[in-house]
């Protein structure tokens, strides 16, 4: 009798070992901005750059903050974090903790450092450039106005080490403000084209920089600089950042929701399209600043990740970093 009972019960237990039902086919980054509270402080936590290693689902976040000087000058700090999306309950999380960064010790000064942008240069890039595994671009007002600088770095075991001293990109800098350099590949003859902001014509506009043929922008002594007319207007356009064929930037132009808003423009292989406001899900009557977009398509997310800063109410104080998912546009 007992043996018979076991024979009847065992199949029921076996049937209960199992896979879990999911409610999302793919990950979704919250389309409504979320305060990145793990990294924010009561001071201004400002513009950032973000690199994600999707295989391990961890990221390196470098951003500018005045917390280290209790509200005075802005320096870069680094956070290392992880990303997780639960396909069952639909919860997306980004956790992060501070991380020492020898590269930033070489870059930070008593002046303000803004607009980080780091490349992870592929091995064949050494055909065009010397230096380390990547280049860290940023802007600093150490010489009065904002200038664009670069520092080569080596990267190993999630640690950034400077591979030389920081140097200004003289071909881009003037007596006006230049900053927020971002790089994309626009053609066959030049491995990279840069965009940056400058107020050399009165208001802040976005400029394109093309180096000598076959040379990286940081290696080129002669650079052709031109204003991106399709994006220009009388208002201030700042902080361009490129991901794929999409550029995001901040502007206080007409058509926004108040203060600086985030806008995007698409590259068709020839020119940038007319700017489009990222909408009321992202923008508010307060300032939204320095957007950074990272494609999450590789990891199977339905949308892409954007990190930006805003002084909207509800944060920890001053400008805070926020993250949000934005539709993938091609």
């Amino acid at each position: 009798m007992k043996r018979t009972a076991y024979l009847l019960i065992i199949p029921l237990f076996l049937a209960s070992c199992s896979g879990k039902r999911v409610n999302y086919d793919r990950g979704i980054i919250p389309p409504v901005p979320v305060n990145f509270s793990a990294v924010n402080s009561i001071y201004d936590d400002y513009n950032s750059d973000l690199r994600i290693t999707w295989a391990e689902k961890w990221f390196t976040l470098i951003f500018s903050t005045n917390r280290q000087s209790s509200g005075n000058d802005f320096d870069f700090i680094t956070y290392l974090g992880s990303i997780h999306f639960d396909l069952i309950d639909g919860i997306f999380t980004m956790d992060a903790g501070p991380r020492d960064n020898a590269l930033l010790e070489a870059v930070n000064s008593n002046s303000n450092e803004f607009g980080p942008f780091f490349t992870l240069d592929l091995p064949y890039y050494h055909h065009w450039k010397s230096g380390g595994d990547g280049r860290f671009f940023y802007s600093s007002d150490i010489n009065g106005s904002l200038d664009i600088f670069c520092c080569d770095y080596d990267f190993g075991e999630a640690i950034f080490q400077p591979a030389g001293d920081p140097f200004p990109i003289d071909a881009l800098n003037t007596g006006f403000d230049e900053g927020y350099l971002t790089i994309y590949s626009a053609g066959q003859t030049n491995p990279e084209t840069a965009l940056f902001m400058s107020d050399r014509d009165g208001s802040y506009d976005i400029y394109r920089a093309i180096g000598e043929e076959g040379m990286m922008i940081s290696e080129s002594s002669v650079v052709t600089v031109s204003k991106v007319t399709s994006l220009s207007c009388s208002a201030d356009d700042k902080c361009p950042y490129i991901s794929g064929n999409m550029m995001v930037f901040t502007s206080d132009r007409e058509g926004g929701f108040g203060g600086f808003d985030l806008w995007y423009s698409l590259y068709d292989g020839q020119e940038w399209s007319a700017p489009v406001n990222l909408g009321s899900d992202i923008n508010t009557e307060y300032d939204e600043y320095r957007p950074v977009v990272v494609s999450a398509e590789e990891e199977g997310f339905l949308n892409d990740l954007m990190v930006f800063s805003s002084n909207r109410p509800g944060g920890k104080g001053g400008f805070d970093l926020y993250y949000a998912g934005i539709p993938r546009r091609k």
């Binding site: 009847l8 199949p11 029921l12 049937a15 209960s16 070992c17 199992s18 896979g19 879990k20 039902r21 999911v22 409610n23 999302y24 086919d25 793919r26 979704i28 919250p30 389309p31 409504v32 396909l87 069952i88 309950d89 639909g90 919860i91 899900d281 339905l302 949308n303 539709p327």
Partner: protein, 223 residues
């Protein structure tokens, strides 16, 4: 219960056996995980639906044997499912859920314990094991901004099922009677989800059935 069964079996049974066919209809009510309406890996979002059963019972004064074929359908709680997407997506876009019904076909057999008949009324306890074929409905969730965010194609899974119930028969005459049935069933079928990382999932199905119907004694002299 085991003691009761042993005692009942030990008692001398009157050698009058009934061979009874019954059919009933009613409502099937999901409970426990199958009825949960929040995003959990085991939540079924099932709602009550129709229930049909046909059964055969062979029993004496105290115990007997029985077999049942049951069919249940459960509506999918589209509103609750949509609310969960509205909540987790923070109201972004418009979510639409379209889903069919769960279906459960049970083949059961087991034994029966019966209390002594009083005033043409029999009260019986039924304990069954068997096999169930479960059908997961087509399910698709669409967000107006993001497109299709979840989909499962209709598919079925089989597995063992356990069932326990109570049945009350009221005999109108020697041949016909009416019945009221209540039962609990549990099974855990595996379903396919080609868009999920594991490609399959197990869903615990708990349901109660409340039916009314008729019973017919097949061993009366007239038959």
């Amino acid at each position: 219960m085991v003691l009761f069964m042993a005692a009942a079996t030990a008692l001398p049974q009157k050698r009058v056996w009934k061979s009874v066919f019954g059919a009933s209809a009613g409502v099937s009510i999901p409970y426990k995980e199958f009825a949960y309406n929040t995003f959990r890996y085991d939540a079924g979002f099932a709602c009550p639906g129709p229930n049909l059963e046909a059964e055969y019972l062979f029993y004496g004064k105290f115990f007997g044997l029985s077999a049942t074929i049951g069919y249940s359908s459960f509506f999918f709680n589209e509103k609750a499912y949509r609310n969960e997407y509205d909540r987790t997506l923070g109201g972004y876009g418009i979510n639409e859920v379209s889903a069919g019904n769960y279906q459960l076909l049970r083949f059961l057999a087991g034994f029966t314990l019966k209390l002594p008949e009083i005033k043409h009324t029999e009260v019986m306890f039924l304990f069954h094991l068997g096999f169930a074929r479960s059908v997961h409905p087509d399910l698709q969730v669409t967000n107006s901004e993001l497109g299709v965010i979840n989909s499962i194609e209709k598919n079925n899974g089989g597995g063992p099922v356990a069932n326990a119930g109570i049945k009350i028969n009221y005999w109108l005459n020697e041949r016909y009677g009416i019945s009221l049935n209540g039962s609990l069933s549990t099974t855990t079928p595996s379903f396919t989800d080609n868009t999920a990382p594991d490609s399959y999932f197990d869903l615990p199905v708990y349901c109660a059935g409340i039916n009314v119907g008729f019973v017919m004694n097949l061993r009366t002299p007239s038959l």
